[in-house]
């Protein structure tokens, strides 16, 4: 029974990778074929290099790309749920599971934000990074579905890790948007935006959006850290022990707290705020990669 579900889960994860690959190709096609090549008439005038972008030309493929992301999301959801059923618990007991669930959270954050904002330009990046995360998960991080070690057998696993995954997904989305802000800002400083970047939101929107995402998810991250402390108190005999993962979670918390203060109290906007946001997000990413793969301490459940 449980092995069957593990196989089914694997098939779903592999299929979602296939669909995300198609979504990636569709998004790439969307951008590439929106280029309007210069007409012969223009070339006669000598301005062969003027390229324009016309996204109405690729509207159909863009819709297909978004549909692919949604389909990939559904397949991945089935894969994650199947993994949970096969193990008879929540699907985040090791690094493989954390990664596929994290990829799911990231896709959910993107699709959720897409309903409200025109973020389709992020699709190329989202499908690529989901593809890379899943690729690493199935090749490097894969471990057979198995029950948990005793320390993880606690209702706090559901609360602590799910909130950490959601916070991570949203932090990374805020990071990507802050990165896009910096890129477009330097582009605008040099002159006009490149044709393909013209449909991207205004700098002000990006600046606000990355702030809103952080402000929205910071209490959740705080809660996740506190839930972890409560769990550590019952499993390890102390609520805070400066274990490497705890230390980096603290650093991430401090960095985002500084970001929020800088914005709300000191009034930072634009480039400085974006850099601080990216710094804070990198501490989260570093925690995820370093502590799980090379790190020591009590949070090493990756089986690597």
């Amino acid at each position: 029974m449980s092995t069957t579900w593990a196989y089914i889960s694997n098939y779903f994860v592999y299929s979602s990778m296939g669909v995300f690959a198609l979504a990636f190709i569709a998004h790439a096609y969307e951008t590439a074929f929106a280029v309007r090549a210069p007409h012969l008439a223009d070339s006669a005038k000598g301005n062969l290099r003027t390229k324009t972008f016309d996204y109405s030309r690729t509207e159909k493929i863009a819709r297909i790309a978004t549909a692919m992301v949604i389909l990939g999301f559904l397949l991945l959801l089935a894969g994650v749920v199947g993994r949970g059923i096969s193990a008879g618990r929540v699907p985040w007991g090791n690094m493989y599971e954390f990664s596929i669930t994290g990829a799911l959270a990231f896709t959910t954050a993107y699709l959720g934000a897409l309903r409200k904002y025109d973020l389709r330009w992020l699709g190329l990046f989202v499908s690529l990074s989901v593809l890379l995360t899943l690729g690493t998960a199935v090749t490097v991080l894969y471990v057979p579905s198995a029950p948990l070690v005793p320390a993880l057998k606690s209702p706090w696993l559901v609360i602590h890790v799910s909130t950490a995954i959601i916070s991570g997904g949203v932090f990374l989305l805020a990071n990507v948007i802050a990165g896009a802000f910096l890129f477009l800002d330097s582009m605008e400083k040099k002159g006009e935006r490149a044709p393909w970047a013209k449909r991207l939101p205004s700098l002000d929107t990006l600046d606000q959006l990355s702030y809103r995402l952080v402000a929205f998810v910071f209490p959740l991250w705080t809660f996740s850290v506190i839930a972890g402390a409560i769990w550590a108190e019952s499993a390890w005999g102390r609520y805070w022990g400066w274990d490497p993962k705890e230390t980096w979670a603290f650093i991430t918390w401090v960095a985002y707290a500084a970001y929020l203060h800088a914005r709300v109290t000191v009034g930072w906007r634009g480039r400085r705020a974006a850099w601080l946001c990216i710094f804070a997000g990198s501490t989260f990413l570093f925690n995820y990669i370093y502590v799980n793969i090379w790190g020591t301490g009590k949070h090493t459940y990756s089986g690597l």
Binding site: G237, W242, A255
Partner: protein
């Protein structure tokens, strides 16, 4: 102080420093510094977590270790420089929050400001012709929506969203409470470890611990007098991955020597609780039970000897010291719950459960050095001054005989490591955390805003103003305008 600078005096200097310390920029810098200062402790081994790695570091690179030690890099989180940063940060925080608390208290008792003369300059201004009794309706609407109102001649000034600053202040004060809880716990707390064989009893007195540390203001006399009898320990492992799946420890506890015994079960996530002291199941291993006889067959030692696990399959090492034999005997041993590969170099266990147990022993004779007063580990024997007798691998029930006597590997029993922790500050830290989260939510998701309604000769005007250009004010004003009878 140079000639050109004006004399500001000690008080002036102190005031200047206080202003600098409590400024937002300083707080921000301190906050970022705290984050950066926490980094080295995640790369360099820390005494509180991994004392063995620290002593290994001293052994492999002594010069670097000495320099690290000078900067407290093995105890980052209790180091003077780390403490300096967070103490300054908290002083700065208190210096910032206290005056704001008084201000906020005063502001929350004051009336909203007078309606501005020119409402059309405010946000979301709207104007229409009405009936003239809109002020009555507006007052009711503001009351229903819990605005604080100030009634003026021909207008109402209303204000809402004080929860934002209240939440903000509670959040910061709660951080102070967390810090107090942490300090209280470390001053009045204790932590100890004891290895207890199944069938033995643990009594909460200093002598029964293998390691024990007290907070500065707590001493051994205050240990609660409970006892724990270890009845049974069952470990379940996954046959495919060898990973543990469940540990169940059955115990009989007594709160005091006089109280009635109570049977209890301990698991990794459910410790025993005695007031503010909790007892955790932290590790487990095996104790081979051996009988050592001297050359004429008298029993010189008999009993279980805890061996320490070296890997996840519980390959364990230990030492058996027999000072009562003549001459003294010592055995350096390895215990394999399920023996796998075995050669002259040693063996390795392939499964953590005792399916095919084997005990490897190296026998030594000579002066064990137990009487020279120098403390030594019970898990190791310094064999430098001893004479080697030989090596032998034993299954349960087998005996190794040699000229000086014999050793019999009778059987084995599991042991558990009980960790006893007293932390009276943790409930304050938890309370602080809960208040901090609630305060944070209140401050991030409410917004302070003002709305004005003015009625002059049936000419109705509504406008508002929100701090941080928060969204939602437009809707609120539209709702109010609808309530006041403005046509869509």
């Amino acid at each position: 102080m140079s000639q050109n600078t004006p004399e500001i005096g000690t008080v002036g200097l102190l005031r200047f420093m206080w202003r600098q310390l409590t400024s937002m920029r300083t707080a921000l810098v301190l906050l970022l510094m705290l984050g950066v200062a926490a980094i080295p402790g995640s790369f360099i081994p820390q005494r509180t977590q991994n004392p063995i790695a620290v002593s290994d570091f001293f052994a492999t690179s002594p010069t670097r270790a000495m320099w690290y030690e000078r900067f407290s890099l093995f105890d980052v989180y209790s180091s003077p420089w780390f403490s300096a940063i967070y103490i300054l940060l908290f002083i700065s925080l208190i210096g910032c929050v206290l005056p704001r608390t008084f201000e906020h208290y005063k502001a929350s008792r004051a009336l909203p400001p007078v309606t501005p003369k020119n409402l059309s300059r405010m946000e979301h201004h709207t104007e229409w012709k009405g009936t003239g009794d809109e002020l009555e309706i507006a007052r009711a609407w503001f009351k229903k929506n819990r605005f604080r109102i100030r009634e003026l001649d021909g207008s109402i000034s209303a204000e809402k969203g004080f929860t934002r600053e209240t939440g903000n202040l509670f959040f910061h004060l709660a951080l102070v409470l967390i810090l107090l809880g942490v300090s209280f716990g470390s001053l009045f707390g204790m932590r100890g470890d004891a290895i207890v064989n199944v069938g033995e009893r643990f009594i909460n007195t200093p002598t029964t611990f293998d390691s024990l540390s007290f907070g500065k203001l707590f001493n051994e006399k205050s240990l609660p007098p409970f006892s724990i009898e270890v009845d049974k320990f069952v470990a379940k492992y996954n046959p495919v991955t060898n990973a543990p799946e469940d540990y169940t420890l059955s115990v009989t506890v007594k709160d005091t020597p006089e109280s009635a015994p109570v049977k209890k079960t301990v698991k990794v996530n459910s410790p025993l609780t005695f007031g503010s002291t909790r007892v955790y199941l932290q590790a487990n291993g095996y104790s081979p039970i051996v009988t050592v006889r001297d050359s004429i067959g008298n029993v010189a030692f008999q009993g279980p000897v805890p061996f320490l696990p070296q890997d996840s399959n519980l390959t364990s090492t230990g030492a058996i010291k027999v000072p009562d034999a003549i001459p003294q005997l010592g055995f350096v041993g390895s215990f394999f719950p399920t023996i796998g590969r075995a050669d002259e170099g040693g063996g390795i266990s392939v499964y953590p459960e005792a399916l095919d147990p084997q005990l490897f022993l190296g026998a030594w004779t000579g002066d064990l050095g137990l009487d020279n007063g120098r403390p030594q580990s019970v898990y190791r024997i310094d064999t430098d001054s001893l004479t080697k007798i030989g090596l032998k691998s034993l299954a349960p029930g087998e005996t190794y005989e040699f000229a000086e006597g014999s050793i019999t590997f009778e059987t084995y029993i599991p042991w558990v490591n009980l960790q006893v922790v007293r932390d009276p500050g943790k409930s304050y830290a938890l309370l602080g955390s809960i208040v901090a989260i609630l305060g944070l939510l209140a401050s991030l998701f409410t917004r302070r805003r003002r709305i004005w309604v003015s009625v002059t000769k049936k000419n109705i005007q509504v406008a508002g103003l929100a701090k941080n250009s928060a969204p939602g004010l437009e809707n609120e004003i539209a709702q109010l305008a609808r309530a006041l009878g403005r046509a869509e």
